[in-house]
């Protein structure tokens, strides 16, 4: 079947509404995506028919819930090409996944004087856990710079990667610059230096094929809600030998093997990390989101976003006073457009766009060090996804021009 964004859009009921009396154009997908009917129906069906706790009941509903929950894990495994489902841990989201690595793997492997290497383009969730780890362990947190074009500076990476480096943690795709980092090449360099590579894949997994074995990453984190799934569910992938040597971050029910008054032992992977009742509905919903994405084809999603950018880019660069951050070469970026419009504050831009029904993000996008590096306190961001059409792109451009005129003349 041929790809049609219009047909796909019809699967997302939320997009069919007026906002401020204008048809909604949702361009805040890097913050969270919308959910197709199949995901909503799957979650509802779970609660209506199968709701029970997992891994502890022998009754029929408990078996159904457990089977669905573990089937979702296998869907994730195949989706990211992990070697086995035991390497797929369910978490609350990317932030929790990264915190787990920093807390458990980090505390065991980073010691006084060791170095952790991240980049200036990271989201706060891939900065603050490492800052805290560095403080606890008296280690050093170092930053890879970006090039003037807005790419990860590979020379900066190479020169800072030393025998002291224990962990390198980088975004696969920047949530601001939209740039795709060469993870496979970086993994090779990191492993040569004897360190492990952690990857924040929150902006990658929803938009492009990810093969964790081909990339040869040690840890890979992402969220369900940015890839058409529910909020509150995410994934931490880790290589088995690393997960095996890690202590759980949380303790309690579900994750234990034997508990005596003074000592306990843990279940095997992946359950030793999943203390307490997990987000069962979330995991099952994520499984449905993966089914939906696979039915469209992840390569088709990526190609659609590329084509949208090719359509949009010349229209945007024709607007005088519009500054777009990140590389100008479209093949180096995804469907994220972060910008400033003359000296109009991004909040004013976002409010004006909202009046036109266009939902964009404004602020620092949880990347204050990057905003400082780019020399802007804040910026506006439009981020496109599988259901966005060329009509959405046209409306975005039209609203930008109207916004610019409004603030130039103080009237319309």
């Amino acid at each position: 079947m041929s790809f049609s964004a219009d047909k796909i859009k019809a699967d997302f009921m939320i997009l069919n509404q007026l906002v401020n009396e204008e048809p909604l154009v949702y361009l805040d997908n890097a913050a969270t995506s919308q959910k197709p009917t199949t995901v909503l129906a799957t979650v509802e069906q779970y609660y209506r028919r199968n709701n029970a706790n997992v891994h502890r009941g022998v009754h029929t509903l408990a078996e159904r819930a457990t089977a669905q929950y573990e089937a979702a894990r296998q869907k994730v495994q195949h989706f990211i090409h992990a070697k086995e489902s035991a390497e797929v841990l369910f978490t609350r989201g990317t932030t929790t996944s990264l915190n787990w690595v920093a807390k458990s793997y980090g505390e065991a492997s980073v010691h006084q004087g060791d170095e952790i290497l991240i980049s200036v383009m990271e989201h706060h969730s891939n900065i603050v856990p490492w800052q805290q780890l560095a403080k606890r362990q008296q280690a050093v947190l170092k930053y890879i710079d970006i090039t003037p074009e807005g790419l990860l500076d590979m020379n900066s990476l190479r020169s800072q990667l030393t025998s002291k480096t224990k962990i390198v943690s980088l975004a696969h795709v920047s949530n601001v610059l939209g740039v795709v980092n060469p993870i496979q090449e970086i993994a090779h360099l990191v492993h040569e230096a004897g360190a492990v590579l952690v990857v924040d894949g929150a902006q990658a997994v929803p938009h492009q094929k990810v093969d964790v074995q081909e990339l040869d990453v040690d840890f890979y984190a992402f969220s369900g809600h940015k890839m058409l799934g529910p909020t509150g569910i995410g994934v931490l992938y880790g290589k088995r030998h690393l997960l095996e040597q890690m202590e759980p971050v949380e303790f309690g029910g579900e994750m234990i093997d034997i508990v005596t008054e003074q000592e306990s032992t843990w279940k095997e992977l992946p359950w030793k990390f999943e203390a307490g009742t997990p987000n069962i509905a979330g995991a099952i919903g994520l499984g449905a989101a993966i089914d939906y994405m696979e039915a469209i084809g992840v390569d088709n999603i990526q190609q659609h976003e590329q084509e949208l950018m090719q359509y949009l880019w010349p229209k945007l660069t024709a607007i005088p006073g519009l500054t777009i951050y990140g590389p100008a070469k479209l093949e180096q970026r995804t469907g994220i457009i972060t910008f400033n419009l003359e000296d109009i504050h991004p909040h004013d831009v976002a409010t004006a766009m909202d009046m036109e029904g266009v939902a964009i993000r404004a602020g620092n996008h949880c990347t204050q060090p990057l905003m400082t590096r780019l020399g802007c306190g804040s910026s506006a961001r439009a981020s496109f996804y599988v259901y966005n059409t060329t009509a959405d792109a046209d409306k975005f451009v039209e609203a930008l021009i109207a916004t610019k005129e409004f603030f130039s003349y103080g009237t319309i």
Partner: protein
């Protein structure tokens, strides 16, 4: 609807205050200074006060922000010169109610800041309007 509704928020007087803010800069001598930021947008405001005998005799603001936060700071500083600390805090309370769409008595006492009442219809922007006023409250409470 489109941008016509924006006029409710961005009245001409508000745009004027934002483009040509009053009391913008620093004082040669200030008796109290405070900095407050809005972490969601990265806006930062600094207030510099000259306070004599529990009265604000001069005030300046600096920093960067959006149209609403700059205009609001400009209007706030216009209003506060000459006020006692008690009066200033009372006005801050009134303004806070106004932008949340609550009933305010003696609304004319708020001067140009009355024009920001339209912010109540844009809940995401209330924080922009109140940033400088919250900074004032925090500074005077110290």
């Amino acid at each position: 609807m489109g941008l016509s509704k924006l006029d409710q928020l961005y009245r001409q007087v508000i745009l004027d205050h934002s483009q040509h803010p009053h009391h913008y800069g620093k004082l040669d001598e200030s008796t109290r200074t405070i900095e407050l930021n809005n972490p969601t947008c990265g806006d930062v405001i600094q207030l510099h006060f000259l306070i004599e005998d529990d009265r604000i005799t001069d005030i300046r603001f600096s920093g960067h922000g959006c149209t609403i936060s700059k205009a609001s700071a400009s209007m706030m500083t216009d209003l506060m010169v000459g006020k006692t600390l008690e009066e200033a805090l009372q006005l801050e309370k009134q303004f806070s109610l106004l932008v949340q769409g609550e009933e305010v008595q003696d609304v004319e006492e708020l001067g140009d800041a009355v024009l920001l009442s339209g912010v109540a219809k844009f809940p995401a922007r209330i924080k922009c309007a109140t940033l400088s006023w919250k900074a004032l409250e925090k500074a005077l409470a110290e």
